[in-house]
Amino acid sequence: MKKLILILISALFLSASPAGKERSIYRTILNAIFPDKAVIHVWLDNPKKRAIFEKIRRVKVVKDHKRADILILYNSFDVPADNKIIFADGYLVFEHFKNRLVGGFYWQKGRPNLVFIKKNLKDHNISLPPTLKEYIEDDM
């Protein structure tokens, strides 16, 4: 019984923390990019974010980027030139890869920004749900 109460308190606490909110944001993003995948393989270059992604349902964090469905990059500017889907977790990465990444979630101008790039989404045959349409930009 105590364990259940602890789980409940932890769930409530995490939902109100920055990490909890960031998890909800990434859960929405990943579900929108991969609506039909049973398991989404994610590769991260920022080990501090691992705990956030590991607790998202359907997401499996992989160590080998070749096995990943999506690369979430914070500070990597040199990744293999294959056709993997790239999503930026930092402004500098977003600027660097904006010709090929599908979007980014990063701090800029004192606020968190979520942006998807229309042309690159199209290149990967990704169609976002209507709830995220307002975050799609034609050109950066």
């Binding site: 789980i7 769930a11 944001i25 101008k109 004192g110 968190p112 979520l114 709830t131």
Partner: protein
């Protein structure tokens, strides 16, 4: 059965959390709110804490620190006859400015030999400030610097969250204008930098007294920059302000002329090691110039009353601070020490008399603070600080110390904080040393005031409601007072008590309400400043519009025979976000002209502290 019920509730809650239909806009807003830097920087153990978040400051459309100081419950802000910002505690005519310390990041801005640099920095622009923390019933041991009981901590915007810049232009109906610019960037190799520049020209209402014009206009320029890499932070700033002297210092307040010019430049290098060691080296240079002219006579200490009065002060401060925090399984131990050199040079001309002198202070300090958690709900705080003051001329060396004990106890939604602080305030040595007794009748024998603060606070926080009740009893030994001829002396003992009641309610992440009430009383029974007061603040957002409403109240008081009726200050602002990066706003201050007032010795009436102003505000992010 009970287990089944709890399982069901847990499942229901988890499901609610997992599948909640928060829109992405709501999620981003909630993430921003939960990521407020104040949630990282605040220290609950340092005293009673009030926070002004970035979102609040932006909705309020504050321009200067003064717009926030106006909202302080205790102490209250007012202005002196010569147009310098000054604080009062409820019922007191004045509160010593050296009891209040202002920090920008980790740098103490108020470390001067001639009082407090707050008289300059109270008007500082805050566009480069992310958020403001105010600690009351504090001792400053935790912040590793000179003593004060009210600590105002300003934190600059973080480059890694800005990545870009902002231009802000403001103008008011009196012809005032102000421009702010900042820019921040982080490079790929982890070096981040931030710079800020500001210039303003503020016109204030002109009054008349006995056919003499009373001007209070001012203009200022300021600059701030920081560079950060791998635990090293270099930061520095410069602020210059020139202002008219309003009523001035003359006996009948009939100024012919008057000007105050202050300039403060500082630089600080800081290294933060991963093992908790922090080393800071800083250098400050302050210049203060005041010129007054009044035929009714300006008191100038032993020289008597003069018509023309000029004083120039130059202050050089060098400091080296080292501290280390040791984290253990039950809390944290902070151990630190610092050395400060303060050099003062003064020159003055008082009609045909002149004075010129200098002195220097070497200040050595060792301190430690333990935060020990007996269990997850009970934390004990114990602090000790020993200071040694050695002056180069005439003033005897002094040994002082600070003792502080505190307890923070949580009972579910209730938090209780209790503090006992035995501290002291260092008297500026311009009041201790001056070979000609001009312009002050100095007293090298003055002892430092020694307040003992006993404080109790109770916070109830549940869901969207937060209630704070605070009370403090303060006894002060050796308070510094001045005789009618200007001679400074120590009052053996006095006391006062003060109370604050605060309530806040968050309707949702974009709409909130704050209410505060305060009262205080001193041993003399005199009410020379408002005994009661309070504020109501309402923050709202609808679509692309931000709204802010603020009502302030201060009760009546009697200042040397002049009765000041209760005053009400209504301030409001509206901001329209025309585009993601462009907004236009409007802020009205003291809209009904019924705002706070102050009287002065021998002046038979009171004067408004703040003007009625309407500011137009244009902001562009790039």
């Amino acid at each position: 059965m009970t287990k089944k019920r709890i399982s069901f509730i847990a499942l229901l809650c988890s499901a609610t959390l997992a599948f909640s239909s928060e829109s992405m806009d709501d999620l981003l807003r909630a993430f921003k709110s939960e990521s407020e830097l104040s949630k990282i920087t605040k220290s609950e153990s340092a005293g009673f804490l009030d926070i002004y978040t970035r979102e609040e400051l932006e909705k309020m459309q504050v321009r200067t620190l003064m717009d926030v100081l106006k909202l302080f419950t205790i102490p209250n802000i007012t202005r002196t006859s010569n147009n310098i910002s000054q604080f009062t505690k409820p019922t007191f005519a004045v509160m010593p400015s050296y009891a209040i310390r202002l920090y920008v990041n980790d740098h103490d801005m108020t470390s001067t030999s001639f009082g407090s640099a707050l008289m300059l920095w109270s008007d500082m622009p805050v566009e480069y400030i992310d958020h403001i923390e105010v600690y009351k019933s504090a001792s400053s041991v935790e912040f590793g610097n000179e003593p004060g009981s009210v600590i105002i901590k300003l934190y600059t915007k973080k480059p890694e969250r800005e990545e870009g810049g902002k231009v802000r232009l403001t103008a008011d109906q009196r012809g005032s204008a102000e421009a702010d610019l900042y820019y921040a960037h982080t490079t790929r190799d982890g070096l981040s930098y931030f710079f800020f520049a500001n210039a303003d020209n503020v016109k204030r209402k002109t009054y008349e007294n006995l056919n003499h014009k009373l001007d209070a206009d001012n203009h200022a320029q300021s600059f701030y920059a920081n560079i950060f890499k791998e635990g090293w932070r270099l930061e520095g700033g410069s602020y210059r302000k020139v202002k008219d002297t309003f009523l001035g210092l003359g006996r009948a307040y009939t100024p012919n002329d008057g000007k105050i010019e202050n300039r403060h430049n500082y630089i600080q290098l800081e290294k933060m090691y991963d093992n908790g060691l922090n080393i800071r080296a800083g250098y400050d240079h302050l210049d203060s110039y005041e010129k007054e002219s009044d035929n009714s006579g300006i008191p100038a200490g032993a020289t008597g009353y003069v018509t023309d009065y000029t004083i120039q002060l130059h202050d050089k401060i060098a400091s080296l601070i080292a501290e280390k925090s040791f984290t253990h399984k039950n809390g944290k131990l902070l151990v630190g020490g610092f050395y400060k050199f303060k050099g003062l040079e003064a020159e003055g001309a008082f009609d045909s008399q002149s004075t010129s002198f200098s002195n220097a202070l070497h200040l050595y300090s060792l301190y430690m603070e333990e935060s020990y958690s007996f269990n997850p709900t009970t934390t004990f705080i114990g602090s000790f600080k020993g200071d040694y003051y050695r002056y180069e001329k005439r003033i005897e060396a002094k040994k002082e110390h600070i003792l502080r004990a505190g307890l923070i106890k949580n009972y579910g939604p209730v938090q209780i904080k209790a503090f006992y602080t035995k501290t002291y305030y260092a008297v500026p040595f311009l009041y201790l040393y001056g070979p000609d007794d001009t312009p002050y009748r100095v007293n090298p024998e003055l002892k430092f005031p020694e307040p003992i603060l006993t404080s109790l606070g109770i916070r109830y926080k549940e869901s969207r409601h937060t209630v704070d009740a605070r009370m403090s009893l303060i006894t002060v030994k050796n308070k510094v007072l001045s005789k009618p001829d200007g001679t400074l002396y120590n009052n053996p003992k006095g006391w006062y008590h003060q109370y604050e009641l605060k309530y806040s309610y968050n309707f949702d992440p974009r709409n909130s309400l704050k209410i505060d009430l305060y009262m205080g009383e001193n041993a003399s029974g005199l009410t020379m400043s408002p005994k009661y007061g309070g504020h109501i603040q309402l923050f709202n957002s609808f679509g692309k519009i931000d709204l802010y409403n603020q009502i302030g109240y201060r009760s009546n008081c009697d200042f040397y025979g002049v009765n000041i009726d209760p005053t009400y200050d209504y301030t409001a602002s509206v901001k329209y976000h025309a585009a993601k990066d462009l907004s236009i706003g409007f802020r009205g201050e003291n809209i009904f002209g019924t705002g706070y007032r102050q009287s002065y010795v021998r002046l038979p009436y009171s004067m408004p502290i703040f003007d009625r102003k309407f500011w137009l505000n244009l902001e562009y992010l790039f």
